[in-house]
């Protein structure tokens, strides 16, 4: 049962011409106007159409309104209430959730006898509801559109009703012309309009039909109205498989049909559009044939093989629509509406090869985007550095993680095994800039790190000495000193870094080592004169500049020099110090790996690094002009790894020792954010409030790390060393790298294993299950096989073998795990774990001095602890910076509800 409408349809159709579809006279009510989608889209439609929405509904929301640029749209509880308020309308747009759509349509039809159009945007409407809505509208003479459509729009009338054809800027796509569009895809309705403009075609009326099982306003009704629309000279039909909507279509005007979805014949369920599922005889092939028969062509139009007639053309690629239409219209003697706008060729707006060499044909250059996008992209260039989302970072980290399978920890996605092959200075830079410096960068890092290592006459050294004197552990000794390296002590350098950042952030400097024109920053630098230059001659700065120039060239260092020359002044030491760190951090900043605030804070971290290493050496090793006996001039050019070794043991390392020390430090860098040291650092940052990064005290972050190490965490490396000392103190071992040591390791190991077995059995008999365990053997993950291996230990062992670096203590450990198995103290051959590697490297370094009586067991313990602090300083620096950038204020606290009171 349906009302009689226009044409000879077996159902009601009320639209006679496309010109009537969306007119200036239409008055619209939007159901669920304050919903998420509607509240975004409706104001744009309302403004574009000159204010065509009279009111909206939302149950319980009467009295509210939806603001738009041309006034507020009132909201009522119901249509009835809106009508009682005196509003009149002929169209309804439905944004209700699927279960409410049918009722909303029923309400509209019942309440308003003047209703002529209903446009349903909602997707996933049940088929049952669709057929009921249709029946209601048919019986009452209402044209229904959708569901899951984007409504209708008219470029001539400057009106759009329902949905968002043309997006947030309809004028960009809905350009006045002579082509009507009917599309199963809402997105393609707009996309086709954009494509048409590249061939000079504009649009009249655009209909997004939706592609549910029920297409309420179909192609046949559309073509009937097309024929009666004087403005439209042709139409585009975009169709997908499923349904007989396009079967036996007829029009007086040329058409281009695009049928897409041959592959959908494979589908047994809908994917994408709900109605785009072919039944029998209505798949894409069938639809192509319907159109080919209608057009009288024997193929699909492609640019290579253009097949078309006066009636039209069939394409299967929307990119071919503009050309096909032009050819068809030429045959009909009709020219395009305007000059073509742009083209559809590939235009890359953003691209990066990440340093790879792509084949030429794939290496598309980045081109300027069309307006207004080019302006937006240009504005993006003003966004320098990374921007991280803030979150609760208590047990999370954007810097470190431990792989639960391999147990290998990573820092900035690089495993500690790989990091252990880098120098200390390289890793210290890496922790903060997320990339390792090149050889030039390492030289710069050594210069500044060594430059501040000597604490002679500084309060930091006095504090450290006082703590040492008072019997504090190495972590407290260093923490006491670090507490003095407050922000004020590095403020000038940070100001200088900030100045360089501001001067260069928008310059095209990607790599600081490249020669670039610095005339613009030089012109703008006047206001930073006090920050970067001094009128007096700082001798130290002169020497520093000399060293820096020898190392290579950096745009920032050159700039400071040129600026001084321009102003006839001298660079300050802080300016050069800052220029070094800006050089080290610049590519990471430009690559959006670090934030601007990290770049500015780098000098602060640098001073703390130097302080921690410096105060580890007792006061007597700090001389006025040197450190551990090395003159400053020489010190600044040596590896900071070497300096750290000297601070620790008071002597120069051999080449092999330096390598082993480097490996040792690398292995300790991190064990993920859950470790106590990392938690200490993160807690310290969290308490300062990282949401205001300027307030975070970096030195306090390091104090958090240092105070969260101790005899159990950090100092326990000594446990294994003490165990080994116990095993070897009565032997004649002079040097741990002596291959001809003449000691029967297997025998010592087996004897010990037997003793241990007896001890273990005895303890079990007396019920003590907490008996002493042998340090550094076995592992909770790497266990259970006949012979077990800790892959991290295996990696280092192999590395040392390749480098021909024997270690008798490590060999002993391997004999020990076998001995334990032979003595039946273990069920299988335990692994030698990674902690053993750390212990054996350390003990090897100190063994000669120990044997010579230069070091006691206490000193070994201290050295062991301090070594841990050096390595872990790298990981914790990364945690401090990461938490500063990503964390929230006080995010490491535990909710009271999760805390437990123990009686």
């Amino acid at each position: 049962m349906h009302k009689s409408g226009v044409g000879e349809f077996p159902y009601y159709v009320g639209i006679n011409s496309l010109a009537e579809l969306a007119t200036k006279d239409d008055r619209v009510v939007v159901l669920n106007i304050l919903g998420k989608e509607s509240s975004t889209v409706t104001p744009v439609s309302h403004e574009y159409s000159g204010g065509n929405v009279v009111f909206g509904t939302g149950p319980g929301k009467s009295g509210l309104s939806l603001p738009t640029k041309i006034g507020k749209i009132p909201v009522y509880n119901s249509i009835k209430e809106g009508m009682l308020a005196g509003h009149k309308f002929n169209s309804v747009v439905v944004y209700l959730p699927p279960s409410g759509v049918k009722d909303g349509v029923a309400e509209a039809v019942r309440a308003n006898p003047d209703l002529k159009k209903v446009i349903v945007l909602t997707e996933k409407i049940a088929v049952k509801d669709s057929r009921i809505m249709r029946a209601i509208c048919q019986a009452n003479g209402v044209d229904l559109f959708g569901g899951n459509c984007l409504g209708v729009a008219d470029s001539w009338n400057h009106v759009r009703i329902g949905g968002a054809l043309g997006g947030s800027h309809p004028e960009e796509s809905l350009i006045k012309g002579s082509v009507a569009i009917f599309s199963n895809s809402g997105n393609f309705t707009t996309t086709i309009a954009v494509y048409l403009s590249t061939a000079g075609w504009g649009t009249t009326t655009s209909v997004s039909s939706g592609k549910d099982v029920y297409i309420q306003y179909g192609p046949k009704e559309f073509l009937y109205a097309l024929d009666n629309d004087d403005r439209s000279k042709a139409a585009i039909l975009y169709c997908e498989p499923g349904g007989y909507y396009e079967h036996e279509i007829q029009s007086n005007k040329p058409l281009v049909a695009c049928v897409v979805g041959r592959w959908k014949a494979r589908l047994t369920k809908a994917c994408g559009h709900a109605g785009s599922l072919a039944g029998s005889g209505d798949d894409a092939f069938a639809k192509e044939k319907w159109f080919m028969d209608y057009f009288g062509v024997d193929g699909i139009y492609t640019p290579q093989k253009p097949v078309f007639s006066r009636k039209g053309a069939l394409v299967t690629n929307i990119a071919h629509i503009p050309e096909a239409l032009t050819r068809v219209m030429e045959l009909n003697g009709v020219k395009s509406d305007f000059e073509p706008k742009g083209s559809l060729s590939l235009k890359c707006w953003f691209g990066s090869n990440q340093g790879l060499g792509l084949p030429k044909e794939l290496d598309l250059p980045v081109v300027e985007a069309i307006s207004p996008y080019n302006e937006q992209i240009a504005a993006l260039e003003k966004h320098v550095g990374a921007q991280f989302r803030r979150d609760t970072m208590k047990d999370a980290s954007g810097a470190s993680m431990m792989d639960p399978v391999t147990q290998v920890s990573k820092l900035h996605n690089m495993s500690i095994l790989d990091l252990s092959q880098k120098s200390l200075e390289a890793n210290l830079v890496f922790a903060l800039t997320r990339q390792h410096p090149d050889a030039y960068g390492e030289q710069l890092a050594n210069l500044v790190l060594n430059g501040y290592v000597n604490q002679h006459g500084q309060p930091t050294l006095a504090a450290a000495e006082a703590a040492r004197e008072a019997g504090s552990s190495p972590n407290i000794v260093t923490a006491s000193a670090v507490g003095i390296v407050g922000k004020k002590s590095v403020q000038k350098a940070m100001d200088a870094a900030q100045a360089l950042l501001e001067l260069f952030q928008y310059e095209k400097v990607q790599d600081p080592q490249q020669k670039v024109d610095i005339s613009a920053p030089l012109k703008a630098a006047e206001k930073y004169k006090d920050v970067l230059l001094t009128s007096g001659d700082e001798a130290c700065a002169g020497k520093m500049m000399e060293c820096l120039k020898k190392a290579g060239s950096s745009v920032f260092i050159s700039f400071v020099e040129a600026f001084a020359k321009q102003e006839k002044m001298h660079p300050t030491v802080d300016a050069l110090f800052a220029a070094v760190w800006v050089t080290l951090g610049w590519t990471s900043l430009k690559g959006k790996k670090i934030t601007k605030s990290t770049l500015v804070r780098l000098p602060w971290y640098s001073r703390i690094y130097s302080t921690i290493v410096g105060v580890t050496a007792p006061a007597e090793r700090h001389q006025k002009d040197g450190f551990c006996g090395v003159k400053l001039e020489s010190l600044v050019t040596q590896s900071f790894t070497k300096t750290a070794f000297m601070a620790l043991l008071g002597r120069e390392p051999s080449e092999n020792e330096l390598f082993e020390f480097k490996v040792l430090l690398g292995l300790i860098i991190t064990n993920g954010p859950g470790t106590i040291s990392a938690q200490g650092a993160k807690g310290a940052v969290s308490a300062d409030g990282p949401e205001q990064p300027d307030r975070v005290q970096v030195n306090k972050g390091f104090m958090g790390f240092l105070t969260h190490t101790g005899f159990a965490h950090g100092g326990n490396g000594y446990e294994a060393a003490a165990f080994l000392v116990q095993q070897f103190k009565d032997t004649a071992l002079k040097s741990a790298d002596d291959k001809k040591h003449g000691i029967n390791l297997e025998e010592i190991a087996l004897n010990y294993a037997k003793q241990y077995k007896a001890y273990k059995d005895q303890q079990k008999v007396i019920g003590n299950l907490e008996y002493d365990k042998i340090p550094c053997v076995n592992h909770p993950i790497f266990k259970g096989k006949e012979v077990n291996v800790d892959p991290r230990e295996e990696f280092v062992n192999k590395l040392f073998q390749e480098k021909n670096l024997p270690n008798v203590f490590l060999d002993f450990y391997h004999s020990l795990v076998e001995g334990l198995f032979k003595a039946k103290a273990s069920k299988n051959v335990y692994c030698v774990n990674i902690d053993a590697v750390i212990a054996v490297i350390l003990l090897k370094m100190v063994w000669k001095d120990y044997r010579a009586g230069k070091l006691g067991e206490n000193e070994i313990e201290t050295a062991s602890f301090a070594t841990f602090l050096f390595g872990r300083m790298i990981g914790c620096a990364a945690e401090i910076d990461d938490h500063t950038n990503r964390g929230r204020n006080m995010d490491t606290r535990t909710a009271a509800s999760k805390c437990v009171f123990v009686a």
């Binding site: 088929v127 029946a135 690629n317 559809l344 590939l346 992209i377 966004h383």
Partner: protein
């Protein structure tokens, strides 16, 4: 979501008391089969396929037996039978035993949504038992009817009269067929087909007995859930991946996926039904999945969808291809941010992998979204190319295919090296 065959069909028919032949499942013992043959003279043995698998008869996959040895032989033959439909192999898991219904007349009956009439439509013929497509049009009657009042007795009566059906079958069908509208309308069906309905009984009084059953449910209509059918009935319709994505199915933002090629090497989150149709077609077998994630999905949903998609497909993929036209109301910043964050999560969880990202998109907040994605890719060290809506989608697709070819022929290795992956 389809059901074919009488094992579950009879249970649905019982809901509206529509008569059907005796049907038993694979659990039937030898004695019970013997008893069934004794009572009915003959049984049909049909393989049990999950989901919608038709044309079993034509493929010789319906056995008939008049004695136990024949029945057991057919059971053995058909229990794990393989049936290839549209190039897809379906494996049977069990058989049904269905009583033969001797009859002079076989009727075809269906209700479906007609896109021609745009109304629910009954299709009926008394020349049933064959493929409806093979019958002359004059022998079939299609009757659209008002969904508000439903299928009525007069629809059936008029149609059968118009067809010139034997008077003996009209009355029993008029009495019974309208009940099927209740089944169709109340449980969210979009198609219901009984073929054949065999008219059983003495000449004076015939009873329509449904002997085969097929129906399809509307996934967007929760009414089918009232049937409380066990999930395994629909299990073959969805892969594990699809099932996981389906759990996120709400009306806010689409989440339709379909596995195209589980060995594919381009994973393409696609936005919009149109883009889905086009992209999947042009990518062909290179694609892992076909998807439509359009409809302005909120960040949380898009992020969840991306995580699931990456978990299943990224490992094998050379190219992550994010593609759609010029969006109307989808917030591109939200969708690209959700994808970028999911990609970052993937790298955090599984470590870096060689990948090339190609994006083709337009719409609100485009540049903001692209900038966020770009920054993420820069941080992860992944090479990329982004195109706006002024590049033809088909060209962008071809570019993604070319990148995929390059990745296969050594590009992936170069990226791997560049990322420092061992």
């Amino acid at each position: 979501m389809q059901i074919t065959g009488m094992l579950w069909g009879r249970k649905l028919l019982d809901l509206v008391e529509f008569p059907h032949s005796e049907v038993r499942g694979p659990e039937l013992s030898v004695d019970e089969i013997k008893d069934m043959i004794k009572r009915h003279g003959e049984v049909f043995i049909k393989p049990l396929f999950k989901g919608g698998v038709g044309k079993k008869g034509k493929s010789g996959l319906i056995g008939r037996a008049k004695n136990i040895s024949e029945a057991l032989r057919e059971k053995e033959r058909l229990y794990f039978a393989e049936h290839v439909v549209n190039g897809y192999a379906n494996k049977s898991d069990g058989v049904t035993f269905e009583a033969a219904v001797p009859a002079e007349y076989e009727v075809y009956f269906s209700i479906s949504e007609s896109t021609e009439f745009r109304a629910p439509t009954m299709t009926i013929t008394h020349h049933g038992g064959v493929d409806i497509e093979e019958l002359e049009k004059s022998k079939i009657k299609q009757v659209p009817f008002d969904p508000l009042t439903g299928l009525k007795a007069f629809h059936v009566s008029n149609a059968l009269t118009d067809l010139g059906a034997p008077p003996a079958i009209i009355s029993p069908l008029v009495q019974n067929l309208p009940r099927l509208w209740d089944l169709y309308n109340n449980y969210g069906m979009v198609q219901l087909e009984l073929n054949p309905i065999r008219m059983m009984g003495a000449k004076g009084r015939l009873t329509p007995m449904a002997c085969d059953f097929k129906c399809m449910f509307d996934i967007d209509d929760p009414a089918w859930k009232r049937l409380d059918l066990p999930p395994h009935v629909f299990a073959s319709d969805y892969s594990e991946f699809e099932q996981e994505i389906n759990q996120l199915r709400t009306y806010q933002g689409q989440s339709d996926v379909f596995v195209i090629n589980d060995k594919g090497s381009i994973t393409a989150p696609t936005f919009g039904g149109g883009a889905n149709a086009m992209v999947t077609e042009l990518l062909g077998e290179a694609a892992t999945i076909s998807s439509d994630f359009g409809g302005n999905p909120p960040y949380e949903k898009m992020n969840e969808i991306s995580k699931i998609t990456f978990n299943y497909w990224l490992k094998q993929s050379n190219v992550l291809f994010v593609i759609g036209g010029k969006a109307n109301n989808t917030d591109i910043y939200e969708t690209l941010r959700a994808i970028a964050d999911a990609l970052r999560d993937y790298f955090q969880k599984f470590g870096p992998k060689p990948l090339f990202v190609v994006v083709g998109r337009g719409g609100p907040n485009l540049i903001r979204g692209m900038a966020y994605f770009r920054d993420t890719l820069d941080q992860l060290g992944i090479p990329y190319r982004f195109f706006g809506h002024d590049s033809a989608m088909s060209e962008v697709i071809n570019y993604a295919l070319s990148i995929n070819d390059w990745m296969k022929s050594g590009g992936a290795g170069e990226i791997k090296q560049g990322m420092g992956i061992k």
